[in-house]
Symmetry: C2
Subunit: 380 residues, 2 copies
């Protein structure tokens, strides 16, 4: 698993890195201004690219996952989407050449705020230019070209990755045949902007934040822990927690009796999961990736969401929403599906009745696998 | 309005304070242990107590309001429940003697962490004993006895106040005839415990927190602002914000261009409202009042919620829920109503279809007033 010495740049034995070779004199231009002099992209892949290079599936991740979406012979540790990707699984690696990229701006091998800026020989930190979802999408497009793929069979994404997948079909309509969009959004709405904005502010309120120029080993981990707890609260649904935790209390012998200490198992759960996260994710990456979701708005690609979506030219699309998702609610998935349909695209819209909220795609094998498998079975 | 010199002990010209006179040698005993040597309770009242003292309505507040629920001749400034209380209004002060008390543990005139501990001549701060909803309820009961009321006509409460009102009917079944419970809970569930626990932790992460022994003027206001933002996020519903803010941006001329600055109006709204709050609410009061909601569980009054509720002996009850409330969801209101009904009590359950989420009772005059007025019209 993570290299203990350098957990913030977590990669596995199976992670490859490609340095983009075809950048112009101005480097990799960023959508909101600025550029990156050099771009490295970390990815993992499963299955084999066909001779015609027509069987590639590109997976964009949510905010926090690495490129390690699934295990392989090279690395047996389970990936974050282990149930979905593999021989005979829904995204069948006997049929497809599957690629998962660590997002541009991330901290698991791709160029991001923790990378050395070749122009200053210092880490970018908060001097990294503003990141947009579209920049992540462009990076994914360049990566696939480096791998010899001009046209994707399918672009797949969930959460932030769903935004990036949607953007791919808009920005590169000639380079993709099918779309799978899971718990995404055509634009960020106030509730999610508010939650993410508060998470970022909590991190920046940690005195260790130091305007984004903290040193390695001196990261604002306290702020990260609090922000992560807010994330966990928004990712899951009330009913799941009711049945899982109810009002269970931490056993008395594990409590100190100190004022304000945690007393309920739900508090313990948040603490445990926050602690697991904070030493493996770079706070600046968190700021940039979180913000890019707020900025995402398909209406910027033509004036309205409909105009933006009308640029899409896939053969068919699968759009999946989850009933209990409060962050990317099913109403927003329905909107994506309706909008695609209005542009004349064949759309399958599936609303999954899962208790797992926004995180359902990560854990709900039973509901997700058949839907994705059936959709891909109908593609050619 | 608030006294600028001492905003943390906000009272109005109409606020009265009563020092409980009938405390035993051990003072006011607290449910989870400890005691208060002296208890002052701040309240406001409207209307006149009848000769038989049978027309008293006691209102318990949510976490943050003061006793100033409505204006009066003495103080014309509008109260936090202005639309509900007054001559000819739903809680009609021509008929009722209406009392609203600042909660025990609060900071608007009643004894709380900011009060001077008579035994040390220092403010309690975090040496205040653990507070429970039941302690607030007992204080309300003592206050009414001091005012010459042995039996309430109606006990009313919303949010935390709804918990206190429910507790009143369980703890003092012979001292109350009718119950109005709004957006309350028979017990706190994991999602709300998680949100409140995180809010408190955010405050305690502010270096100014100083273990709850901050000095006056040196309060952890940054932590309070972040916690308040999380509160605001949980009090309102996504659809209301979608229609109110959509993706409106703060005008460019009001932005500095600084990295990570607020760009969306929703961020501006949270900032504005947080700033309004932080200089008028004591951080220790926030910790104690917030925690007492987590601890509330009617099952502690007999082993199960049903057993606790079976102690209630009101003539009838009005239970109100709001469809868009994520903090005290309507399913929990239905549970209260069903449970009361099983014990043989006449219950009116009303689910209000409001866009205003948990805050609906504060603002949705149109939906709430007729329901409360009709219920009280049927009482004698």
């Amino acid at each position: 698993m993570a290299d203990e010495e350098n957990a913030y740049s977590f990669t596995t034995k199976a992670t490859r890195t490609i340095k983009l070779s075809n950048l112009g004199a101005d480097g990799f231009p960023m959508r909101r201004g600025g550029y990156l002099a050099e771009v490295n992209l970390a990815y993992e892949s499963w299955g084999k690219l066909s001779a015609d290079a027509d069987n590639a599936v590109l997976i964009f991740t949510g905010l926090s996952p690495s490129a390690h979406a699934a295990s392989s012979e090279e690395d047996l540790s389970p990936g974050w989407w282990e149930y979905m990707i593999g021989p005979g699984k829904a995204i069948d690696t006997n049929r497809f050449f599957v690629v998962c990229m660590n997002s541009l701006g991330g901290c698991y091998g791709s160029t991001g705020p923790r990378s050395i800026n070749p122009e200053t020989s210092e880490p970018y930190g908060s001097d990294f230019p503003t990141l947009t979802v579209e920049d992540i999408t462009s990076a994914g497009h360049e990566l696939m070209r480096e791998l010899g793929v001009e046209c994707l069979h399918t672009v797949v994404g969930s959460s932030m990755g769903g935004m990036a997948a949607l953007a791919y079909t808009i920005m590169f309509p000639q380079n993709v045949k099918y779309l799978i969009s899971i718990s995404a959004a055509a634009q960020a709405l106030p509730l999610t902007i508010a939650i993410r904005s508060l998470q970022r502010e909590i991190i920046r309120s940690d005195p260790a934040w130091n305007d984004g120029h903290y040193k390695s080993g001196e990261e604002p981990v306290k702020g990260m822990a609090l922000a992560r707890k807010l994330g966990l609260i928004s990712y899951r649904a009330a009913d799941e927690w009711n049945s899982k935790f109810d009002r269970s209390k931490i056993p008395r012998e594990r409590r100190t009796g100190k004022l304000f200490e945690h007393e309920f198992e739900i508090e313990n759960y948040l603490e445990y999961n926050a602690q697991k996260f904070i030493y493996s994710f770079d706070p600046n990456s968190y700021q940039y990736l979180s913000r890019c979701m707020d900025l995402f708005d398909i209406a910027e690609h033509g004036g309205t969401i409909d105009a933006g979506m009308s640029k899409i030219d896939v053969k068919s699309a699968l759009v999946i929403g989850v009933t209990t998702d409060i962050l990317f609610p099913s109403s927003q998935q329905k909107e994506i599906a309706d909008c695609l349909q209005r542009t004349g695209i064949r759309v399958e819209y599936v609303e999954i009745d899962s208790v797992n909220g926004h995180d359902a795609f990560l854990v709900d094998d039973e509901h997700f696998s058949p839907v994705v498998a059936d959709f891909l079975a109908d593609t050619n």
